[in-house]
């Protein structure tokens, strides 16, 4: 866990009183909506179809149990008893009243949680690998660097009025769990030949109307130079970014239009001016941040405790363990992913009761720590293997032990037309129907790893472009129509999916997906060939044939 210092606490508290005053002036009519909108957006408050929506940041996806309890409290007291975990390590509350928002913010501030930079054209919540600090083989804990960037950019005037929102993600593992290639800036921690820590820097990734996979702009930037390098990128963006056209305002468009070579030359020129300035980071600063990330006092535990050996006889436990439990860097411990994708439920939602109970389980089994990942699931990062059977039983009672992590029912979906004012079509009911179709665990297991991503409009909050199967809702003559792509991926091999054919109606989506999956099962060379690899080998055609032959 990271311990905030006095500066952070003061900042967060000042922000709450400032917003309280702004809300008061809005409700009295002293501020018009036009004047107030930018202020509320700077505090994570959107307007949805049915109500205001309140987005709270979970920096680099790390939560303490008391913070999760505070989120549960907000869900219960100010909302309708649940919250929605998003793909960018945020949580959203869907029914909050403007008049009560300052109180909700004040309650969250008590545990160091805030909503700064969760909306608006600024530097957003810097995201990271939800397994940061515990994944075996990572270069080092990427959250140290996420925190450095967070401190530098929070309320930084140069980054508060950018041409458009700006998102950074950091990973330190070979396997990218932070989706860095679809961020404005993606950072991959690496070591150079001298063993020094630095970053491969990617730029210009993003989804939405015009999707791009990020390109490497520099193969190695030394850790001490990372702030000046990011700042150089942002200055070039600030200077040339298209403020005149919201559809062309993201950095990905600029990188695309200038070309990565020209863009990187501009950045290089800018960088030379500021590289040796106060932006160069002293080792002490990094050490200070490092020291604020407390790691638990792990015990020396056996690799294979008796409890685990005995539980292995239970097929239900084994089914869950195989998909939810991952290796930990410390022997005798595991990382446990908690599926927020029960069959038939909206992806990513958790009730206040579940959050409270999970906070208790985190205290008992995970040194009081919870993680939030971009797949809209949670994780307990430090579970002793001997505790796995007991934890599983407790999670099962809470409806949090669905054994579907990374399987076809572990769907990423945006709120869509049930909540979102920008939506063209519903996403959640599509996800619900698909989880019912593939509810049978044997079947899901037979299919193996397969990510379905659903967005209710071209903004792509559900990352449909990079789903192994992507589903995009559009509107045609007043009807919901869905375009289906296959072959996308969000990890280190990031790629955009390809359309399989004309859009299909709401009622047909689940049938079409079943056809795609059946085609895959018939076409794969061997059971270990994943869906995504079969698509790569054969292309879209055979899937298209299967789906449209009878339609």
């Amino acid at each position: 866990m990271y311990a905030y210092d006095e500066i952070d606490r003061t900042l967060v508290n000042e922000r709450v009183s400032e917003f309280r005053d702004q809300v008061k002036r809005r409700l009295s009519g002293e501020l018009t909506e036009d004047e107030f909108k930018i202020l509320r957006l700077q505090n994570g408050v959107y307007l949805q179809l049915h109500a205001y929506m309140f987005r709270v940041a979970i920096p680099y996806g790390t939560l303490a149990s008391n913070q999760l309890r505070a989120l549960a409290h907000v869900a219960r007291k100010y909302d309708r008893g649940y919250g929605h975990f998003t793909t960018r390590q945020n949580i959203q509350f869907n029914w909050i009243k403007l008049a009560e928002l300052p109180d909700a913010l004040a309650d969250l501030a008590e545990v160091g949680i805030h909503a700064m930079q969760t909306s608006g054209n600024n530097m957003r919540n810097v995201t990271s690998d939800q397994w940061a600090g515990v994944a075996p083989g990572e270069i080092e804990d990427p959250r140290i660097w996420s925190e450095l960037i967070r401190q530098h950019t929070t309320l930084h005037p140069e980054f508060s009025f950018l041409p458009r929102k700006f998102k950074i993600a950091i990973t330190a593992s070979d396997h990218d769990r932070a989706a860095i290639k679809i961020h404005d800036i993606g950072l991959r921690l690496i070591k150079n030949e001298k063993g020094e820590t630095g970053f491969e820097v990617l730029v210009g990734g993003g989804l939405g109307r015009t999707p791009f996979i990020g390109k490497t702009i520099k193969h190695f930037v030394h850790g001490r130079d990372i702030l000046s390098y990011i700042e150089a990128i942002l200055r070039v963006y600030n200077q040339y970014g298209r403020r005149d056209n919201i559809y062309k305002a993201r950095i990905k468009i600029l990188v695309h239009e200038l070309g990565i070579e020209k863009f990187s030359r501009e950045v290089e020129d800018e960088w030379q001016y500021i590289r040796n300035s106060s932006l160069q980071i002293d080792d002490e600063v990094i050490e200070d941040i490092r020291s604020r990330f407390a790691y638990p006092a792990y015990e020396k535990l056996p690799h294979m405790p008796d409890e685990l050996r005995q539980a292995a006889a239970d097929p239900d436990f084994e089914a869950w363990r195989k998909n939810s439990v991952a290796p930990h860097k410390v022997q005798g411990y595991s990382i446990v992913t908690i599926s927020l994708k029960p069959i038939g439920a909206p992806p990513g939602d958790a009730t206040a009761e579940q959050m409270d109970a999970l906070a208790d389980l985190a205290d008992r089994y995970s040194f009081g720590e919870i993680r939030v990942g971009h797949e809209q699931n949670l994780a307990l990062p430090h579970v002793a293997k001997r505790d796995l059977p007991a934890l599983w039983k407790a999670l099962d009672k809470l409806g949090l032990a669905t054994p579907n992590v990374n399987l076809i029912t572990d769907i990423i979906a945006c709120p869509g037309l049930d909540y979102c004012s920008l939506a063209n079509a519903r996403s959640i009911p599509i996800a619900q129907e698909l989880t019912r179709r593939f509810a049978n665990h044997e079947l899901a297991n037979l299919i193996g790893r397969l990510h379905i991503n659903i967005s209710g409009c071209i903004n792509a909050c559900g990352h449909h472009h990079v789903g192994h199967i992507g589903i995009l809702g559009v509107e045609k003559n007043g009807e919901e129509v869905y375009q289906i792509t296959i072959g996308g991926r969000a990890d280190e091999g990031a790629a955009l999916g390809n359309l399989i054919g004309p859009g299909v109606k709401f009622d047909e989506v689940a049938d079409v997906i079943e056809d795609v999956v059946e085609a895959y099962l018939a076409l794969r060379e061997r059971p270990e060939e994943l869906f995504i690899d079969t698509v790569k080998r054969l292309g879209v055609e055979p899937f298209k044939e299967r789906v449209y032959a009878t339609r």
Partner: protein, 105 residues
Amino acid sequence: MTSPLEQKKIKIAGPSVVTANRTWDGIVVYRTAAKSWSPDLSEAAIVRNSDEAKALLAESVADDVGAIGPYIAPVQIGADGKIEPGNLREQIRRTGLTIGQPAQA
């Protein structure tokens, strides 16, 4: 931001209402003939041509403290005079989610 009133011309295809979200709590409301807001669609003022629509919208926009983001939305009026939303989005705004909620307060 461009105000909805600056839209070149307001065209409506049939009976319409003005809808928005109430400022203090965000709930869906409709502009009434009594120059106020109601959460009940049956109390909405109906406009039938673009001049009426423009006037109702102008008056709604002016009441910025009452509700935010007013816009014109189509409705259907049944033989019995009952007002129904004219499209899926407005249907969902009126009746709420098409899915169950994880928990009710």
